[in-house]
Symmetry: C2
Subunit: 429 residues, 2 copies
């Protein structure tokens, strides 16, 4: 009886799992170098935790159910609510609290390119400061991770600010800002005509509508922001202050990365959750969905507790990252590092071969030996088919002299060497 | 509105998460050094996958539900069925296939000491060979992991063999072997009287019953196995052959570890799943549940496919391992490695401080800088309360000379040094 894996789920074999965890490990190491600390969230939470933040829209896309104890629960569809729940449960933490985690998350959606029903998400957040420095650091961390993965010229960062956007729209005389945000959110997915039609439906005047289209087509760096906006509207003092803060954030991001960073007014990231800066990172060729996205969400902690804790963070899924790393030729190769298969020249030396394997491991190297009672030539063949880089051949003479025959399985070259010299090979290979 | 985490689930804060992942990372690195390759299983599977192996008993302890597409699914209660499903789906793999994975698994049980409803499990399996060498290697891997965690004198390995046990019981005239196994499985949990009573209930004669009790109380190493068994029964040729194989396995385990390894006839590990060697590892003081357990299960692949692939493996949960590491003083400390908090002596130097932090990260070190617009003395206080080992103070003079004041935050000592010399501190600290 054959039972298949579920639709939208993945089996990761070594050739997929190893480069994936290697790339996610880079993300974790970079976060640690920034002083971020690792946490782990539960995979199952009360469904109410998500109702609180997202209403029933997200809930309809969850793997949720009633457990054997009658609780309404869900496999977590995102990390942030759990992370904020953990944060608000502890009042003893020095700030800024800088945390990262790498949970699996689940969404009941139609699987399509770049989306599965289960994926791994790298998450990072800064809790405490509401400053351009904090905004720049979270974006700087995201950029540094991509830079350390060898992608420094393969992505661009699009930044916007919800408060800035709201101020600009109000300045245009728009009152139902949320309705307009939800149209802007579709700008890159629908035609220009459709965009205008939907703005009109949201009761935006034709004058304001054409201003919004102009805004959408601006690509500003931090310095040009103010002058670009002034071509479209006349900002008041408060709006000018917000623009200054955004410009300062973009300037500070240059401390972390030399990647392309620009203002993109079409980035609003959904509806009501974000309260300040928002950002998305895309591959430079525009082939894929966003690689990562995030922003400031200062109100969530207040929904869950009696504390209001300024919060900024991002999430990066493993799927689009894999597509980009593959396209850029950075997906770690399947081949193992230098590895040593110890062959016994005759059956009575099998135990010695196992013992030599163990010694090689203690040198910090990868090694194994035959465990299938094969003859010597079958062992050598097995070593090659398993992808070992070297074979160490153990015969009676070798056991006496302590010098072993080392065969490079790629080019067939052989030499004789002492066990303790094996680690020198690492420099060579 | 406060929403609590679910009963039986854990929030892992940095002081818990960091040592946990550090210890699990040791397990992964040791497995890699043995030539095991990493895979990743889905977290959700068809419920039928578990019905196949375990029947409805396990199913009643799962987080299972009907998904939005009408499928009967479950959060995985163990790794093995998924791993074997993945194995049988690929006929191109060279053998032995040696895989490890580190999934989260879920069981709906009453939480108690050493058990939660969600835990992380390190899993390793060898597929292909049915040899003493393969059996010894999987037990050797388990032992090497514990040895590399600094636990070499804190555990003992108890080994038995299902075929051996079955042969011995049949030799005693017992026909319903499975019923007797399920009594033996309780030997260490019930009184001697209760044990005898339950054997009688399973229709074991009083003669056979007293032989079984004698067996339970034997502690054999591999060499003594045959003579110890011969004190109780007269083994036939087939039984002698099995004993020889088990003795050979125990002898080979000594290649991997110097830990205590002995035969324990009370280890039968549940009912019908295992087909050969079975083993459990306990802490030497006997305070906790088993640290890990496993064995040979040659029939599972045949239930799922048209292939019969000899299989041996083990699973180690994170919970008992944590208890043991803590008791033995090996739980990695909460303290971070050498880490550098870069302080700006005045506000206009903030950006430079951020930039110096970035340079320190590029040296491979942990660094951060104030992102809350604090004054110098507040920055120094923050550095201490966040647990940084050193503060780097950036003033105008320092920017000009390139030499920075480095303060050790534990002893308060200061010195002046160039940035590039910071990494030398690692050797000192």
């Amino acid at each position: 009886m054959t039972i298949d894996r579920l639709k939208g789920f993945r089996d990761l074999y070594p050739e997929d799992a190893e480069p994936k965890f290697a790339s996610l490990n880079v993300a974790q190491e970079v976060a640690k170098s920034f002083g971020f600390r690792q946490i782990e969230i539960p995979s199952l939470e009360s469904l109410d935790l998500y109702r609180l933040k997202s209403g029933d829209e997200l809930v309809s896309q969850t793997f949720s159910f009633t457990d054997r104890g009658g609780r309404e629960v869900t496999m977590v569809p995102e990390a942030t609510p759990s992370v904020v729940r953990m944060l608000t449960a502890r009042k003893d933490l020095s700030r800024p609290v800088k945390w990262f985690s790498m949970p699996k998350i689940w969404r009941y959606e139609e699987p399509q390119s770049g989306r599965f029903r289960e994926h791994i998400q790298f998450n990072a957040d800064i809790f405490g400061p509401d400053t351009p420095e904090a905004d720049a650091e979270i974006i700087g961390l995201a950029a540094s991770i991509l830079d350390n993965l060898g992608l420094s010229s393969s992505y661009s960062i699009r930044v916007n600010d919800r408060k800035l956007m709201e101020g600009i729209l109000r300045n245009m005389g728009i009152t139902d800002v949320i309705a307009v945000f939800s149209v802007i959110d579709k700008f890159r997915k629908i035609s220009a005509d459709e965009f205008s039609a939907q703005l009109a439906e949201a009761k935006v005047s034709s004058e304001a509508s054409s201003k919004i289209v102009s805004l959408m087509n601006i690509t500003s760096n931090g310095n040009e922001l103010k002058s670009n906006v002034e071509k479209i509207i006349e900002p008041d003092a408060e709006l000018s202050k917000i623009m200054e803060k955004v410009s300062q954030t973009l300037d500070l991001i240059s401390v972390y990365t030399s990647a392309d960073v620009h203002i993109d007014f079409s980035v609003v990231r959904g509806l009501s959750y974000y309260t300040g800066i928002v950002f998305e990172v895309f591959d430079s060729k525009g082939e894929f969905r966003s690689i990562l996205g995030g922003g400031r969400y200062d109100n969530l902690s207040g929904l869950m507790s009696d504390q209001n804790i300024p919060s900024v963070g991002f999430g990066m899924g493993d799927v689009v990252l894999e597509l980009l790393l593959k396209r850029e030729g950075k997906w770690a190769t399947m081949s193992m590092p230098a590895s040593f298969y110890v062959c016994a020249a005759s059956p009575e030396l099998r135990k010695q071969a196992l013992s030599i394997s163990m010694k090689i491991r203690k040198l910090g190297l990868i090694s194994s030996s035959d465990i299938s009672q094969r003859g010597l030539s079958a062992q050598l063949k097995n070593a090659s088919s398993l992808g070992y880089s070297h074979a160490v051949i153990v015969g009676k003479k070798e056991m006496e002299s302590g010098n072993f025959t080392l065969r490079n399985l790629e080019d067939g070259n052989q030499k004789s060497m002492a066990l303790n010299d094996l680690h020198k090979l690492l420099g060579e290979s």
